[in-house]
Symmetry: C2
Amino acid sequence: MYVIAMYDVGEKRVGKMLKHMRRYLHWIQNSVFEGEITESKMEELRIGARYIMEEESDSLIIFKTRQEKWLDKEIVGIERSSIG
Amino acid sequence: MYVIAMYDVGEKRVGKMLKHMRRYLHWIQNSVFEGEITESKMEELRIGARYIMEEESDSLIIFKTRQEKWLDKEIVGIERSSIG
């Protein structure tokens, strides 16, 4: 599946969360990532994220789609990162 | 169409950009928005965003899908904002 994931975590946890997310997805902007991922890797991502996050204050939103072609990406201004 | 949009703009332009985006979409986290939007409203959003943004340093990413049902949203931790 193809996912777009974005976190909003306390400052102290930003570094850890960034490193964790980068293990599974491509960074595209601020705290936003995208990429193709398997269900089992997605579960790893979730477990690791829950371990880092304070669930009462932090948030991770994941948009999933079965096929990347169902998503069209448009960039206005500069592109921070390209996955080619 | 259904869109997920996220901006990364200089601090001075955050307030204006937030206000602009809220006119068209639902805020869900940090600088991330989602919602159903028509092609003409999307064009308005784009024009307004370009007017606010410094195109050499700021960025707006828009993911579009024809049908909301093609996207599945999952939230880990707290939900900042709900569109019900």
